[in-house]
């Protein structure tokens, strides 16, 4: 039998492209305000954070509801988040700063705000690379899962990056930070309540009575 909900993955991926297309279309037609570069930079970043938080929410939603579909799209949502984060980074590096590598390099070192955002992207990079079925197999599921816990660190860094960006009205960044925090707490609580059975050491051959 075919996988249930064959429409789910293509639907999510198609839907995820919509905000990006809207940003590009609005910027191209002069409908993104007087500073379309800054505006699209901010919007791509926000999309990255939204999808990253959504990918982190998949497991807790499954825990709370018993639904299995969120976990089946989790990897796709994570890759979408990485794609938006990469477009956000490229917009900053290329369009905003004009590939002025000297300035960029100094900015990353000197400004925690930029460094935190860059670290979040860097954290997502190995996760995106290992997001294919083949890579899951190659790493083994246990190792793969451990590696992909880095997604939480990226989420926390992403929320901090957003918080540090705004000048005074921190309400919106705080919403994202608290959602990431809540998801993290849910996972920790779950891990404590349902400790994973330790992989049994391979039983030593029982000495046969002679």
């Amino acid at each position: 039998m075919a996988a249930p909900h064959p429409w789910l993955k293509p639907g999510v991926i198609a839907g995820a492209c919509i905000p990006g297309a809207v940003i590009v279309a609005r910027a191209a037609t002069g409908h993104l305000g007087a500073n379309p570069i800054a505006e699209s930079l901010n919007r791509f970043g926000l999309c990255a954070l939204i999808f990253l938080v959504a990918s982190l929410a998949c497991s807790p939603v499954k825990m709370l509801t018993g639904w299995t579909w969120p976990v089946r799209i989790r990897r796709n949502v994570g890759v979408i988040a990485f794609a938006y984060a990469s477009v956000h980074l490229l917009t900053y590096v290329g369009v905003d700063q004009g590939f002025a590598w000297g300035t960029l390099f100094k900015d990353v070192l000197k400004r925690p705000f930029i460094a935190v955002g860059f670290l979040a992207w860097l954290g997502m990079l190995p996760l995106a690379i290992t997001s294919t079925d083949a890579m899951v197999k190659r790493l083994g599921f246990v190792k793969w899962k451990q590696l992909h816990r880095v997604a939480y660190a990226a989420g926390v860094l992403g929320a901090i990056h957003f918080y540090m960006r705004v000048k005074s009205d921190v309400r919106e960044p705080l919403v994202y930070a608290s959602v990431v925090g809540t998801l993290l707490v849910l996972r920790v609580v779950d891990a404590i309540r349902h400790p994973k059975p330790k992989p049994k050491p391979r039983a030593a051959p029982r000495p046969e009575p002679g």
């Binding site: 839907g15 300035t103 540090m164």
Partner: protein, 345 residues
Amino acid sequence: MALPKEPPSSEITPEKDYLRRREFIRNAALLTATAAGVGGGVVLLGGAGPLGSDGGAKPPPVQGPATAPSAAKGNETAEGEMGTYTRNAKYRVDGEKVNSFEEITHYNNYYEFGTDKSDPAQNAHTLKTKPWTIQVEGETSKPRTIGMEDIRQWFPLEERVYRFRCVEAWSMVVPWMGFPLADLVKKLEPTSKAKYVAFTTLMRPEEMPGQQHAILDWPYIEGLRMDEATHPLAFIAVGLYGKELPNQNGAPLRLVTPWKYGFKGVKAIVKIRFTEKEPPTTWNLAAPGEYGFYANVNPDHDHPRWSQKTERRIGEWRRRPSLPFNGYADQVASLYSGMDLHRYF
């Protein structure tokens, strides 16, 4: 001639697919709904731009290039909806394009109307600027309340084209209309004790929705040293592009100090207070490490979170280098001679 009695077999839908046609339609519908839900959800969360606003909304038509840098050496006289005014030939920005009325009126930092750049254009229409009075107090020989009409009668209007540099590293070129702050200060008769002057923005949360949230310590206050306030460049704007100043730009009157970052340009002024000591100012209180009292444009003094070396001129693709005192160093640098500009940033 024998016509085929039935379509070629290649066009016959396999029975298995025929039987699944409902499932196919259902899946297509669910796919579309999922895509719309995901895409719409992210757009609603602000992922594709500010909600309900349209940065490209058509502005009221602007007749002609109100301030095309003309070759004329002397002052010109012009006629606008605010009457006759002079185009001051001394204050032009030659060789740089003046930003459009639309850009200047739809990209604003005016947190009293919201923190998005597009919020003021959308929300500022609720502000009532008539009647308008200004309280004059502190170190003045004549504390009093003056009406906006009086102020408008005191001074002839002139147009000046100034660079405008925001602390967020973007900039514009703006044709303001108004009068020198020095003239106003003189009229308000500060005493010899007055070393500073502080300006306060209107506090009216019902008309300024941003004031309903404590994002800043309302009302907004900014200040200048007296020698800065009486410098010929310091300006009070009551108009823009030959028209009444739009609400989102600080109507009915605002401060313009082109050699300082934009946040010094306090809008919708209702109080002017002369003081002996440096007045506390809003952004400096909110983040003393990021926004100083002086706030002079200084490419060598970075904001902790970004460089001030370059800026994006609104409407331009590439960043341009920022200039000390925003290009007005020859006129104002002497005000700060002997001062450590990193300490007094």
